[in-house]
């Protein structure tokens, strides 16, 4: 009767739920089997290739075939199958590489592989350009999202199989591109964008503040400029190019720019502000990359003002700095999401995981993006014309004080304003000392090498 039928309905429902879950389990087991087995023991593994077919990962690599430091520049980016470094491309996608399928079992001659967007040659050249210095660099195509180079120095030589762990410098096992760093004056891009969003360009360009080398803020604390004699009266474009701290301190203090507006723009751009909510991470084919975080207390607060200039509690990852450049260079305020895997092949040789360009949410308005682009290009024309002769490059440099001001990191982020060569990049040199290699030296190497790989024939002809 009705009640018995109801109980039967209950039993049917339970059985169906179980069946559905079981079907899902079977599906999951047979798709993830490669990942499981790659954790087990020695199993035949496919290679990771760069965009030109150079090998970036080979489970059985040895120094005699490849040369002893062949993998040094990508050691902490690609990683290997030993699980020593988990946040790496090979570490996160090891399941794709196993020459194994649930139906066939292990296939010695399987065709599992990952094809990367990286350009190993350029990567290596830039790595070498760092010379004795440490740091990191990343560059990608801001129209498609392909990462062309990504390196972090000091790196680890995976051919040594971690036997030299004790002698490695700290930070060797992490690719610094994905981890937080103090942004220094590159933070002024974000602050300028926040001001553009809040006040509009006309309003902002009409503002001018005086810099006499040192500015005492409303709380009575001194904000020092890097130019002791001061820059005099400037507008935003000049102050941005001069990277003038007193200007930006006064801009943050200006009643026309509410702190709430800065916070809103920052949050849209991916910052974690004042620890509210969860830290955002970018996902680069499984690699998790820090975005940005800062704290904004009050307009007159010394730390807040420093935070808006990239010191204090502000932290940004070099990758995120580069990604913001895409939103500016595109002129849309929407960033292009970067990726490393252009496609992978299964054991059977079938192509999977074909990359598709994806975009972020709207970070700031198109209008702000357009003006920001102009401001950055203006800075590029004035100060960095030599980076890529003949092409406009929008840039912002930064000097970040770390370890209580004992060391200064030098940063440079920017984009090439050319649809035929759409590169956005970020470079960091740790513990920069005047007279040694500079970020713009490395940017030159990077852009010229990338240009050659973009237009090889043209270059040979000239």
């Amino acid at each position: 009767m009705k009640s018995i039928r109801r109980v039967q309905g209950l039993i049917t429902a339970m059985l169906l739920i179980f069946l559905a879950a079981f079907a899902f389990l079977v599906y999951k087991l047979q798709t993830e089997a490669g990942f499981y087995i790659s954790n087990a023991s020695k199993i035949s593994m496919g290679f990771i290739y760069d965009r030109n077919g150079d090998v970036l990962f080979d489970a059985d690599a040895d120094a005699q075939i490849y040369g002893s430091d062949y993998f040094i520049d990508i050691g902490n980016l690609i990683g290997d199958n030993s699980r020593q470094m988990s946040n790496t491309l090979a570490g996160k996608n090891i399941g794709m590489l196993a020459n194994f399928s649930f139906m066939l079992g292990e296939q010695e001659n399987g065709q599992a592989s990952i094809h990367c967007t990286l350009d190993h040659k350029v990567n290596r050249d830039v790595y070498d350009a760092f010379g004795k210095k440490n740091g990191c660099a990343v560059a990608y195509n801001y129209l498609t999202g392909e990462i062309y180079l990504c390196l972090s120095k000091p790196s680890v030589n995976i051919l040594n199989h971690y036997e030299d762990l004790d002698s490695l410098e700290t930070g060797s096992l992490l690719c610094k591109v994905f981890y937080p760093t103090v942004p220094g004056s590159t933070q002024k891009i974000s602050t300028t964008l926040a001001a553009l969003e809040s006040m509009g360009y006309d309003n902002l360009i009409s503002k001018s503040y005086d810099c006499s080398g040192v500015y005492t803020n409303l709380d009575g604390k001194d904000i020092r400029c890097h130019l002791e004699s001061g820059h005099g009266t400037q507008n935003i474009t000049e102050a941005f190019a001069n990277s003038c701290n007193p200007f930006f301190a006064q801009l943050v203090e200006d009643p026309a720019l509410p702190l709430y507006d800065i916070e809103k723009t920052y949050e849209k751009m991916g910052y974690l502000v004042n620890g509210k909510g969860n830290q955002n991470y970018l996902d680069i084919n499984g690699i998790s990359a820090f975005t940005a975080s800062t704290s904004l207390k009050s307009k007159t607060d010394f730390n807040t003002q420093w935070g808006c200039m990239g010191q204090g509690e502000t932290l940004v990852s070099p990758l995120q700095l580069m990604v913001w450049q895409s939103a500016i260079a595109n002129g849309t305020g929407i960033a292009t999401n970067p990726y490393l895997i252009s496609y992978a092949t299964k054991v059977s040789g079938k192509v999977t995981a074909q990359a598709e360009t994806s975009y972020s949410s709207q970070m700031f308005s198109e209008i702000s993006a357009g003006y920001m682009k102009e401001i950055m290009l203006d800075n590029g024309r004035k100060n960095y014309a030599s980076l890529l002769p003949g092409t406009d490059v929008g840039v912002k440099s930064g000097t970040a004080q770390v370890e209580n001001g004992n060391k200064e990191n030098s940063l440079l982020t920017g984009f090439v304003d050319d649809p035929g060569f759409p590169i956005a990049f970020c470079i960091q040199i740790d513990d920069r000392v005047k007279g040694e290699v500079s970020t713009s030296d490395i940017a030159k190497v990077m852009l010229q090498n990338l240009y050659e790989s973009f237009y090889p024939s043209e270059n040979e002809a000239s």
């Binding site: 109801r6 109980v7 039967q8 209950l10 039993i11 087991l29 499981y36 649930f102």
Partner: protein
């Protein structure tokens, strides 16, 4: 010929063929070290088949399919268990299987007359109380096992069928309601809730979190039936309050759970590959190695892992026999539960009981299979019929007996009829004796 005058020749032949084909697979694909062991196993399986089929000829019941299915699953399980780590006859599991079959019959005989069991439900409460006491005072320091000589018993397994019976009994009663404070509460519901609470508290206290969801599921089913069963007369207000309370308790349990629970809830098994995630990682790797058709009986390597024959038994089977065969075995258990849908019970008590049994089986299977495959947190529960362990096998057998009772129930008037017949026979015999005496 069975007592219900149906012929089951097709099913019986296929039952034998199923086991023979499995033994054939063991023979051809398995690694047989000593032929004598294989022969022993064959003898045990065929012997159990023939023995039980002969015994069922004496059973007086309406349906026999559940007996056949149980026998089939148990022998499959015996073959599975006998092949872990080389082929041998697992005598322990054979005994468990026999006990399971006996428990099945016991469960059937005890529950087939619903009026009788409803009348005697106070004894079930007493039994639960005794089990409680035994868990609290006589178990070892893990609060799970009572060890008597070389046997160990897990009393919490036996609470399951008792709890299902209590749930069913409480739901079927016509309730008189008492007004306590603002709510109309029936005595039976209150007792059931108190018993349930005690059981949950006990599980929590002895850290037996594996069986907690099973009891929870049975109780949920009971609650659902309570709301839908016509004689419940429960207001929507009470339903809302109970649901809200349930959600709150779940949230609180999730957040305030002690460290050892939290640790289990959030384990990234691959990050803790050689720590807490070891068993699951090995299980998943084993399944991957097995593929669809398995490595062959006795060729697996999971038998080296702790609890390979109970908690991660699904993976061990998958490795040796293949996912296909393991899934089919699970399907067989599901079909056993599905017979209830095709042949519904004719009274509410048995209907409630079957719902409880289904809930218990499905929950335990989910916890075991999905837990060992890392879909849900890993709790050490057994897979019904397949895992080794006498207590669990017996309680599973008892539960199947309850299912059987739902399909071939004994109605009170039939009992009376039988009694009358017996009395008549007695009287006739007495009369005959007297006649003989007087004749002498």
């Amino acid at each position: 010929m069975y007592k219900n005058r149906l012929s089951y020749s097709g099913a019986v032949i296929l039952l034998f063929l199923t086991h023979l084909s499995m033994l054939g697979l063991v023979f051809i694909r398995g690694s047989i070290a000593a032929p004598m062991d294989f022969l022993k196993l064959t003898g045990a399986v065929i012997g159990l088949d023939i023995g039980y089929l002969l015994i069922t000829l004496w059973y007086k019941q309406m349906t026999y399919t559940l007996d056949f299915m149980l026998l089939c699953i148990l022998n499959i399980s015996l073959i599975f268990q006998s092949c872990f780590g080389g082929i041998h006859l697992s005598v322990k599991h054979l005994i468990s299987c026999v006990m399971c079959l006996a428990a099945c019959e016991a469960g059937f005989l005890l529950t087939r007359n619903h009026e009788w069991i409803r009348k005697n439900k106070k004894y079930i409460y007493i039994l639960i109380f005794i089990l409680f006491i035994s868990i609290i005072f006589f178990t070892d320091n893990q609060k799970k096992w009572i060890t008597i000589g070389s046997f160990s018993i897990q009393p919490s397994e036996f609470i399951k069928p008792c709890f299902i019976l209590v749930c069913a009994a409480s739901i079927v009663e016509l309730h008189e309601k008492l007004k306590i404070a603002f709510f109309y509460i029936s005595k039976d519901s209150l007792t059931l809730c108190i018993v349930a609470l005690f059981i949950f508290a006990l599980q929590w206290w002895c850290h037996d979190l594996g069986s907690l969801p099973t009891f929870g599921m049975i109780f949920l089913c009971a609650l659902f039936c309570r709301f839908c069963y016509p004689k419940a007369k429960i207001s929507k207000r009470v339903v809302a309050i109970v649901c809200a309370a349930g959600v709150l308790v779940l949230i609180a349990a999730w957040n305030l759970a002690p460290d050892y629970v939290q640790k289990r809830l959030h384990v990234d098994i691959w990050a803790d590959r050689y720590g807490d995630g070891y068993q699951q990682c090995e299980a998943l790797i084993g399944i991957a190695k097995g593929g669809w058709l398995g490595l062959g009986a006795g060729n697996g390597s999971l038998y080296k892992i702790f609890a390979h024959d109970s908690d991660i038994v699904f993976a061990t089977i998958c490795e040796e026999w293949g996912l296909l065969y393991a899934a089919l075995t699970i399907m067989l258990i599901l079909i056993m539960l599905m017979t209830v849908l095709m042949n519904p019970p004719k009274n509410y008590y048995h209907a409630m009981m079957t719902a409880g049994v289904t809930a218990a089986f499905l929950m335990q299977m989910s916890l075991n299979i999905f837990g060992s495959c890392n879909l849900i947190p890993f709790t050490g529960v057994t897979l019904p019929f397949i895992s080794a362990g006498g207590s669990s096998m017996m309680s599973c057998g008892f539960l199947v007996g309850m299912l059987k009772a739902g399909q071939s129930p004994l109605f009170q008037h039939e009992v009376m009829k039988r009694k009358r017949q017996k009395q008549r026979q007695k009287a006739r015999k007495a009369a005959q004796k007297q006649q003989r005496r007087s004749a002498a």
